[in-house]
């Protein structure tokens, strides 16, 4: 049974705490001005260390984040959401992979490295990465994974990253909105200038939602930041001392 009061408090505090307060960088830092950078091939180059808005709840708006207030749950999705209680099993607290949306949602930065053929998310959160082709090829056949199988293609200057074949063991966000193994994510990247990425994520999961829904965000180039190692396992006392439980997945 979910602790509704705690969840409500969490939501309220997440919204107020997260979105009212500017971070040091957002207050003091300004990204460089300049035109959209491009690779020698002419494709838009998204490379850089990017500051992302922290999105613990994808239904909420915040600075540089537009949420989707009323999620269109199917009966299955609504039941999954109602039944979720992180106290009964917290996969991120257990240092299991966050999956694609929760990795993008984290407050820690990500670095993008890119060639004409490949695109790489280097997430600082737990030092995970996702690398995939963006040369227009189709999805291959593989085992379902935490981050799914991604391929990218271009629509003009917009890079469209299409991801399927998720293992269904992750949650969309920190507060725990559900998805199924039928999740189909579309992430659309544009870079209107040197210092910013306009980001849209489309959540399409017919088992969990009756229709696709979106979040739109702005990422900021951080020329003053370098990526740092983040070992979730190094000193995860909360797990070792039993305050966080490892979820039991059906196999």
């Amino acid at each position: 049974m979910k602790n509704h009061l705690a969840a409500t408090l969490l939501a309220v505090l997440a919204v107020t705490g997260v979105f009212v307060q500017p971070v040091a960088g957002q207050r003091d830092y300004k990204p460089p001005d300049g035109p959209t950078p491009r690779l020698p091939s002419g494709k838009v180059d998204f490379s850089g260390v990017w500051q992302k808005p922290y999105v613990p709840d994808m239904t909420k708006d915040g600075k540089d984040q537009k949420g989707y207030p009323e999620l269109p749950f199917t009966p299955w999705g609504a039941a999954e959401w109602k039944a979720y209680d992180a106290a009964e099993g917290d996969y991120t607290g257990s240092c299991l992979p966050f999956g694609m949306t929760r990795s993008v949602n984290t407050p820690e930065p990500m670095q993008i490295m890119q060639s004409d053929k490949y695109f790489t998310f280097l997430f600082e959160q737990n030092s995970w990465f996702s690398v995939f082709p963006i040369d227009g090829r189709k999805h291959g056949n593989g085992i379902a994974t935490w981050f799914g199988n991604s391929v990218g293609h271009w629509e003009g200057d917009t890079l469209v990253i299409d991801t399927i074949n998720f293992n269904g063991k992750t949650r969309l966000d920190t507060i725990g909105h559900p998805h199924s193994e039928q999740l189909h994510l579309v992430q659309r990247f544009t870079r209107p200038d040197l210092g910013h990425i306009s980001y849209e994520v489309i959540v399409d999961d017919p088992k969990t939602f009756t229709k696709p829904w979106t979040n739109t965000r702005t990422f900021t180039l951080r020329t003053d930041w370098e990526m740092m190692e983040y070992s979730c396992e190094e000193n995860n006392k909360s797990l070792w001392e039993g305050r966080i439980k490892i979820p039991r997945y059906k196999r």
């Binding site: 602790n3 009061l5 705690a6 969840a7 408090l9 969490l10 309220v12 505090l13 997440a14 107020t16 705490g17 997260v18 009212v20 307060q21 500017p22 971070v23 040091a24 960088g25 207050r27 808005p53 922290y54 613990p56 992180a86 106290a87 917290d90 991120t92 607290g93 240092c95 966050f98 984290t106 407050p107 820690e108 930065p109 600082e124 959160q125 737990n126 920190t174 507060i175 725990g176 930041w225 740092m228 190692e229 983040y230 070992s231 979730c232 190094e234 000193n235 995860n236 006392k237 909360s238 001392e241 039993g242 305050r243 966080i244 439980k245």
Partner: protein, 145 residues
């Protein structure tokens, strides 16, 4: 419910803590806050720092809290990710062993002497590791350390 060495006047402190939390802190860095901590159980701890673990995924601060009868109760409190704190200008040396601190936090659900630290204050009123819980916290004041 009152314990020696710290206060837990639930209603007033809960409201005050909610205000503090709402104004000062988000609740989570990367994992579910509610899985481990009880937002309805705020706590204020005063004691001497005995250790500081500056390691991922979160820093841990250890302190000895003196009870009214003179006995000492060890506590441990979770702070933010060291990467975020580092970007905000803090280091492991920002707090010294033996420093007297006041921690505003929230208790763990399991009843252990564990808290999630929201504010860590020195006797002169300076806050250490302000914004300790995530990359979107308010920045600490730049101070010489």
């Amino acid at each position: 419910m009152d314990f020696p060495g710290y206060t837990n006047r639930r209603l007033v402190i809960a409201l005050a803590a909610c205000l503090v939390l709402a104004l000062v802190q988000p609740t989570v860095a990367h994992h579910s806050f509610a899985a481990e901590f009880d937002a309805n159980k705020p706590v204020t701890l005063k004691g001497a720092v005995t250790n500081l673990e500056w390691a991922n995924p979160h820093i841990w601060l250890y302190l000895d809290v003196k009870n009214d009868d003179g006995s000492v109760q060890p506590w441990q409190c979770e702070g933010g990710p060291p990467n975020t704190l580092t970007r905000n200008g803090w280091t492991k040396d920002s707090l010294k062993i033996g420093d007297q601190v006041t921690i505003e936090g929230v208790l763990a659900k399991d009843g252990s002497k564990t808290c999630n630290a929201r504010l860590v204050k020195l006797p002169d009123g300076r806050s250490v590791f302000a914004g300790s819980l995530g990359g979107d916290n308010p920045p600490p004041p730049k101070q010489p350390h």
